[in-house]
Amino acid sequence: MRIIISLFAAFFMASAANAGTLEDVKKRGVLNCIVNTGLPGFSYTDKTGRWKGFDADMCRSLAAAVVGDGEKVKFIPATGKTRFTLLNSKEGDVIFRNTTWTFVRDVDVKLTFLPTTYYDGQGFIIRKSKGVKSAKELDGATVCIQTGTTTELNLADFFRANKISYKPVPIESNEEARKNYLADRCDTYTTDASGLAATRATFDKPGDHMILPEIISKEPLGPVVRHGDDQWADIVRWTVYALIAAEQHGITAGNVDKMAMDKSNPNVSRMLGSEGNLGGMLGLDKEWAKRVIKAQGNYAEIFERNVGLKTPVGLSRGLNALYTKGGLQYSPPFR
């Protein structure tokens, strides 16, 4: 009987213990970060089994803030179907896995979405020889489309709104889409524009293919945490903002120590902890933001290293430029 009671107690404690992710992570000394099983530029393994990419680096930045060491991350690769389950079962503390922020996921699935780290949108890739210049000319086209994603629904909406028809070729993964598209089994392939760019980079003749100008959907991709742990959500939120603010103030991994000493800019001083104690309010220490920037660099550094124009993925900043440069990346003030 006592066993049963303690089991019940354990059950309810487990359900009640929705708060306290910060304590769990600190106690564990490792951040459990859910990433994609493989998305070029965003999350992949290198020769030694080290996780790399835009999302993996963001995990390391967060670990630097919370645990104090950017290498103290356990990466949990997840598919589109398993990511939320792994988060809710507490296998993971946070999702950095190109997850689109939508109303239903936010409100109905009860997740907490944090600032968008990558503004994406759905596009089309097509052979230049087909002579199509706009997505609106795709009437009657066969379209390779990943099933069970938001892109599938966006595609239907777009063609219905423009009163044109298409034949879907349902496929499971990006790699399969690439093969089908190259074998000309579909006229065009549609997914997030970042994915199209990364895929095109691997074609033998990338110049023969073009990404059509229309971006038919909004895909704000960012970190996700469990609903109901506001302190933890704040930590993830302000870690992302620290990366963006660092870019704005010109703080990089290289000069962050010097910037912390220099007290000429009060905004920078507050953020880096040389003035006030913003970190303490988060439940962290004063130097949390300094460690974040030191771990993987600021937002621009992470972007350029993983998906920027000099990488094979070759994405320009576009919507992901700072608001001062015509983009959408904007950090509220650190004060």
Binding site: G38, P40, G41, A78, T82, T85, S89, R178, T202, P312
Partner: protein, 379 residues
């Protein structure tokens, strides 16, 4: 009779000919015998046959030249990226597999500790031998070692007691497939036998328990059970206790395979004529004795194809670990393919993974054939 002996008995005339009736038997003319005859009759027997033969030769030729060209002749075996491969040859890029081989085998297992994985592989082979070969000398001692092996392997792989601890979430690649597959295979057979016997039991409670267990397990897809292992179980253990995810996974895979195994063995049990049960009873054997000495040896022999079938299915199901966030050999392939240096080489990865699974499963199936022949004592 040796040819030399025959020569002595031959009577040869002066002109070099043979006396009547002493001419040795000649082989039949090549037009009615031998490979040429066989080819003519079977491959070019009629116009249709000839056409079909030529067509098949043409297809075989083009398939083989294409495959050989792609896989070997035009393939690149060294290089540090896909572009390196393409610069040398436009066939397969095996450099990718070579580049990632240690990742494919060991997953994220820490590099200085990988000898432990190697050692447990070697010990595994040593542990399998006494199980597979009945005629082995000192088989009793060998079997005792085989029973101890899971403990030894667990100690080697996870560590503790003098070895550095390695968290199970660093398991990955081929090693993870083997760990899950071997555990499932080793434990599902005994559990399956008990369940099958329980299902035929005359005690209602035992029977009902076994029947409901088997039916529930078989009524649910494995992937669902794995989700339960990953998600639900954490609600039933006290918060803070870290019930290892891989262990949960191993339990679920084993239970799943046991459910199927029980039904396969039940099929074998039902094929044993009642006379055998009665004969065992008549000899005064108790229940377990009669099962062990009379019924099960016959029932298991009949069930071998089904048992191996279940093993093979289980082994291939190990790729489902991706649902709990672990990368097996296939998952490692996918995460490596996302490296922009190597992107677009999925065919190579799939062929490599397919070869690994084919090799494992084919050996199992050959062994089962050999065993069936060996145990074939029927009429």
């Amino acid at each position: 009779m040796t040819p030399g002996k025959e020569e002595k008995t031959l009577a040869v005339t002066e002109g070099g000919g043979y006396l009547p009736g002493t001419h040795p038997d000649l082989p039949p003319p090549s037009s009615v015998h031998g490979p040429i005859h066989w080819i003519r009759v079977n491959l070019f027997g009629s116009v249709t046959d000839t056409a079909l033969t030529l067509l098949a030769v043409y297809f075989l030729y083009s398939a083989i030249t294409f495959l050989a060209g792609w896989m070997f002749i035009n393939a690149a075996f060294t290089g540090e990226s896909r572009n390196d491969c393409r610069a040398v040859a436009d066939g397969a890029c095996w450099a990718f597999i070579g580049n990632r081989l240690s990742l494919f085998i060991y997953g994220f297992y820490p590099e200085p500790e990988r000898w432990r994985v190697d050692l447990s592989f070697v010990l595994l082979i040593l542990a399998i031998v006494p199980v597979l070969y009945e005629d082995m000398p000192q088989r009793g001692k060998g079997l005792a070692y085989s029973c101890l092996y899971p403990l030894i392997a667990a100690w080697l792989l996870v560590g503790g007691f003098g070895l550095e601890k390695v968290s199970t979430d660093q398991f990955g690649g081929l090693m993870l497939n083997v760990v899950i597959g071997v555990t499932g295979i080793a434990f599902s057979l005994p559990i399956g036998i008990v369940l099958a016997l329980g299902r035929q039991s005359q005690l209602p409670i035992v029977r009902i328990l076994c029947v409901s267990f088997i039916e529930i397990i078989r009524g649910v897809p494995l992937i669902t059970l794995l989700f339960v292992a990953a998600v639900m179980l954490s609600y039933f253990v006290p918060p803070g206790t870290d019930f290892d995810l891989l262990v949960r996974m191993l339990i679920m895979v084993t239970l799943f395979a046991s459910g199927y195994m029980a039904e396969v063995i039940r099929g074998g049990l039902q094929a044993i004529p009642n006379g055998q049960y009665e004969a065992a009873d008549a000899m005064g054997l108790k229940y377990w004795q009669s099962m062990r000495l009379v019924v099960l040896p016959q029932a298991l022999k009949i069930s071998i194809p089904g048992i191996v079938n279940t093993f093979i299915a289980l082994y291939k199901d190990t790729t489902l670990v991706i649902v709990i966030g672990r990368l097996d050999i296939l998952g490692i392939g996918n995460s490596s393919l996302a490296d922009t240096k190597w992107q677009g080489l999925s065919t190579e990865v799939y062929i490599f993974v397919a070869l690994f699974f084919f090799f494992s499963c084919f050996s199992m199936s050959r062994y089962s054939l050999w065993l069936e022949k060996k145990l074939h004592t029927g009429h």
